[in-house]
Amino acid sequence: MSESNGAMIEMIKVSKIYQPDIRALSDVSVSIAQGEMFFLIGMSGAGKTTFLKLLCNMETPTNGLIEIAGRDIQKLRGKTLARMRQKIGVAYQDFKLLTDRTVAENIAISMEVSYKKPQHIKKRVRDLLDRLALADKHDAITGELSRGEQQRVALARAVANSPTLILVDEPTGNLDATTTRRVMDLLTKCNHSGATVIIATHDDSIYRDTQHRIMELRSGKLHLIREGLPQ
């Protein structure tokens, strides 16, 4: 099969137990192809965020194997790990923005660490802010934005460095329908230009009519993977 060759993510029997005994994930196996868009759904507390944290190496699995682009991420250290992380863009559910910096600085940070040119950074930041209807917030202090604006800044930072893997955790929780559409357009565009996109969400409006795969977690267990509706 050509899929195993082009797999971006390979997860085999992965479990995660938080101290002392909270089973956040049990025996999840899934394979996600390069360039795929993938939805992750489930009730609050089902383990979606834990799933994403394992992928970006923020948490280590208690059991099981996780491979990204063919490499066991638990074995990565130092520079290799840093370079891998530069290729993964994550929009965290709690944003993790630097609240005392400007919006532009927050977005630029993910490009600065891979030594992009200042002119390039500036252009990219403006472009992203335009797309997300935040053009007038370029120099605003991030902590003073409304919650929905912050959510979009977090998303912009995740995609800014054109990563090959984009993990998005509840990207539209604080957004109205119009803004949600803008966000989804941006993610679709990233996906079309080759990035693998994984979206954890509750908002059925964004996955209801999708032709992509949807995985549902139920209290840490893989409940079902639904193939997308045909276009």
Partner: protein, 295 residues
């Protein structure tokens, strides 16, 4: 060299954005250097003062009889057995009489009727001019008193003895204060640095998550550490120098300057102090940071 560009941009931004806490750290470092260098200076000068005060210290050992050359050699050996000394001089009865006569000056005719040998022969012992031998002057004198043929040992006044005890006590006080202070200082600097880094924990963590290498994260902090070390210690030393001059001016009455000669640090000492501050600041930030980089 995009790495260095990025790092320098980071440093500039950090200095701009976190200057209040940077200033706090700077103040802490300056104060610490000031305090430490102050105590070191006091201690150094105190040793010098001991030196001066001991200048005309000599122990005079009065002898029962005029010693022959052989006897002199033996006495000299015995004295050196206790400790090294600066000088040992033998004074015969005749010399003693001559000196006394010179001291009396115009009244020397009082002595006309005295026999030329009514004053005893003696040995003048000048101890080494360092605090250690000064502090042992009493022991030394007891030792000399037990030498064969010794009539009596004299060394100025009780004052000297008291002064030595006092100096010894003082040096303990200075060392203790210094110790306490250095403890406080180390505690303070490390605490301040730790808190500064704690305040930027969110940033450090984010940098790691977006894939910054450890060097990228660490270098700006180290550069800030170096800057703070250099600036802080320079400010501290300049303040000390100002203070030093103020004291010197206050004490510039003709009476004292002749006794005490204060001296400031030499160039190499200053350089060492600055170097050590830089080292401490850098190592301090490095260690505090290491904790967060490992997460």
């Amino acid at each position: 060299m995009s790495f260095w560009l990025a790092v320098l941009r980071q440093v500039a931004r950090n200095l701009r954005q976190t200057w209040p806490s940077q200033f706090m750290t700077l103040l802490t470092v300056s104060l610490s250097v000031l305090i430490f260098a102050f105590f070191y200076l006091v201690y150094m000068n105190m040793l010098g003062v001991g030196d001066k005060l001991g200048d005309d210290l000599r122990l005079i050992v009065y002898l029962e009889e005029e010693p022959g050359p052989e006897m002199q050699e033996q006495l000299r050996r015995k004295i050196l057995a206790f400790d090294e000394v600066e000088q040992i001089r033998f004074i015969s009865k005749a010399e003693a009489y001559q000196r006394f006569a010179d001291q009396l000056g115009n009244d020397r005719d009082v002595l006309d009727d005295m026999p030329r040998d009514f004053l005893p022969a003696s040995i003048e012992v000048v101890p080494l001019k360092n605090l250690r031998s000064l502090s042992q002057v009493k022991l030394f004198s007891d030792y000399l008193a037990r030498l064969p043929g010794t009539l009596k040992v004299q060394y100025g006044q009780d004052w000297i003895e008291r002064f030595y005890y006092f100096t010894r006590l003082l040096s303990i006080v200075v060392l203790l204060s210094g110790g306490l202070l250095i403890m406080t200082t180390v505690f303070m600097v490390s605490y301040t640095i730790r808190l500064t880094i704690l305040g930027r924990q969110a940033e450090l963590e984010l940098l790691r998550l977006v894939g910054a290498t450890n060097n990228y994260i660490r270098t700006p902090f180290l550069i800030e550490g170096v800057l703070q070390g250099i600036l802080g210690s320079t400010v501290g030393i300049i303040s000390l120098y100002t203070l030093f001059h103020w004291i010197k001016l206050r004490f510039s009455g003709p009476g004292i300057l002749t006794i005490f000669e204060f001296s400031f640090f030499q160039g190499p000492t200053v350089a060492t102090i600055i170097f050590i501050s830089v080292l401490l600041c850098t190592v301090g930030s490095y260690l505090s940071m290491q904790k967060f980089l490992r997460i």
